[in-house]
Symmetry: C2
Subunit: 324 residues, 2 copies
């Protein structure tokens, strides 16, 4: 069968950030006992994203791996940070142009913010939107649509033809919690089911998609020396996906004074929803929370066709060579 030689796998990545342990725990468990994962009949590649950072228990060693997937950066032979090299290696081994390619990637993350189980979509590729819409239809997951933010770019999933981030929280860094693992594996199994349906040509998409479009991020108030001058207000902590109105308590200063949300000029009068509130890893990026706009989109027919075309090229488990 001609298709076999070029048919692609689904890449499932855990531990892209070395201190996010839940997905890495799952990936290691699935590698040891593949039957533990309902694969929907698809051939998978199960990978620890950043093994060196995972071993060190740190988000990254030299550079955030999930900000390394810029084509320019990867093509620059002078850039040899450990994570840039790892990004190249992942693409060489499992990228869409690899000898044994992957066409879809699920990149599994966790967060200290109370995001629940959700999807992060980068940009508006029809394949991504189709898979996200199908997952939202199946499991009700909220979707954070990350686009138009030049300060945050180079994400892993962008280098594969179709890819989503599954993000689950709240969970501390460095810790495995059973409930977080369960939520993650439910999302992965549903995604594989839906990709298998798309491969068979019988994926049904819901009529609408609810997205939370990234508008921008807010930093903590800062002192002259750059140190934080306040913390996230206790009434805002753990309130991800909830609307934030002008005047709502947002930060709390050390004297106990509430600092209310004041919309930046470009968002004046605009209803916003907050996400990634007080994510531990974003402090260094100057992000205390991000602001989104909630939108309801009709699902376009072309999305489902694009995903079906892509999924038709996916390899089934039965096409895997026996080991050895």
């Amino acid at each position: 069968m001609e298709a076999r030689s070029t048919a692609a796998k689904v890449l499932v990545v855990g531990g892209t950030h070395g201190n996010e342990r839940n997905a890495a725990w799952l990936v290691e468990s699935w590698r040891r006992h593949p039957a533990r994962l309902r694969r929907g009949g698809l051939a998978l590649e199960l990978v620890i994203g950043n093994p060196a950072a995972h071993a060190a228990g740190r988000r990254y060693l030299e550079r955030d791996l999930n900000r390394c997937f810029h084509t320019d950066l990867l093509a620059d032979p002078g850039r040899r940070e450990l994570e840039v090299d790892r990004a190249r290696e992942l693409l060489d081994r499992h990228g869409p142009a690899a000898a044994d390619p992957c066409a879809v990637v699920l990149d599994l993350h966790s967060t200290t913010a109370a995001m629940g189980c959700c999807l992060v979509v980068y940009g508006r590729r029809p394949e991504d939107l189709a898979l996200a819409a199908a997952l939202q239809g199946r499991l009700g997951l909220p979707i954070y649509l990350h686009e138009g933010d030049p300060s945050q770019s180079g994400f892993l999933v962008e280098r594969w033809p179709c890819g989503l981030v599954v993000e689950v929280g709240p969970v501390p860094q460095g810790l495995v919690q059973a409930a977080i693992c369960r939520q993650t594996s439910l999302a992965v199994e549903a995604a594989l089911d839906l990709l298998a349906a798309a491969r068979r040509g019988d994926l049904r998409l819901p009529p609408r998609l609810v997205v939370h479009r990234h508008l921008g991020s807010l930093d903590l108030p800062r002192q002259a020396d750059g140190a934080p001058a306040a913390v996230v207000h206790p009434l805002r902590q753990h309130r991800d996906w909830q609307p934030l109105a002008a005047g709502d308590p947002l930060f709390l200063d050390p004297d106990g004074v509430s600092l209310p949300y004041r919309p930046p000029p470009e968002l004046e009068g605009e209803p916003v929803w907050a996400v990634f509130i007080n994510e531990a890893a974003y402090g260094e990026k100057g992000i205390a929370l991000s602001l989104t706009r909630r939108e309801i989109w009709p699902v376009e027919e072309g999305w489902g066709r694009a995903l079906a075309d892509l999924a038709a090229g996916l390899k089934g488990e039965e096409q895997l060579l026996p080991p050895g």
Copy 2:
């Protein structure tokens, strides 16, 4: 006044572990604006325990600072790990024999376990038990009595004549949360009030003290290669301070099978209470949770006298030299 030259301060330490940010945030805020802390009229020394690890956002760089305070280790000139040197420096500057000594230390920690706000007492020094009993009487804080565990020793507070750990959770590492800061500062302010009362000679202790005595710790089940073979059971997660009976679900394996609590032989038939369930930093120490026995002790008169004698030597704020 003769006493002035030898009168001692109270040492308040945050950031003994560099990724526990809440107390460090408080200490920095109190140093900047001392009036933010109700000091009970006492002269304080406010210190970041491990500034290098704090700057790196890691628990420690070379060795856990809060396991470095062994007299033998500190006296060994061959041991020059960064944290061992820092322990020596803290003692040289603020120890009981320093030129400007501290006689009491409050060491402020946070945990990913759902411990609430609690006290950790090391051993049975009467001064510590008096202060812990007074704090429990004032705020109802549970007390974890850590003793008789040769695998866990060298704690900071042990090198001062009186010292308690204030431990607050759950909070992720690397993160400041307003509610955690509030719980921590309430405990510190109450402790300073009570020490001031002891200094005036009018500290009243409650008649009884409830302690949870350390009995031992349990590791996760492990595979032959040392990797974890299970996680903390979701019904056990966040259930710190609650009783654990033989047969209760304790761990969950990757196939979803519950592994019940089986008491070790020496604890057969003994009711136990679990603490520090799934603390992120204890994975490397092979501790998934610790087991304690709940005991109700009569408060001994000698404890209050011992604390009053010590507190009589504390310096008041009015004895501080004006700055400059």
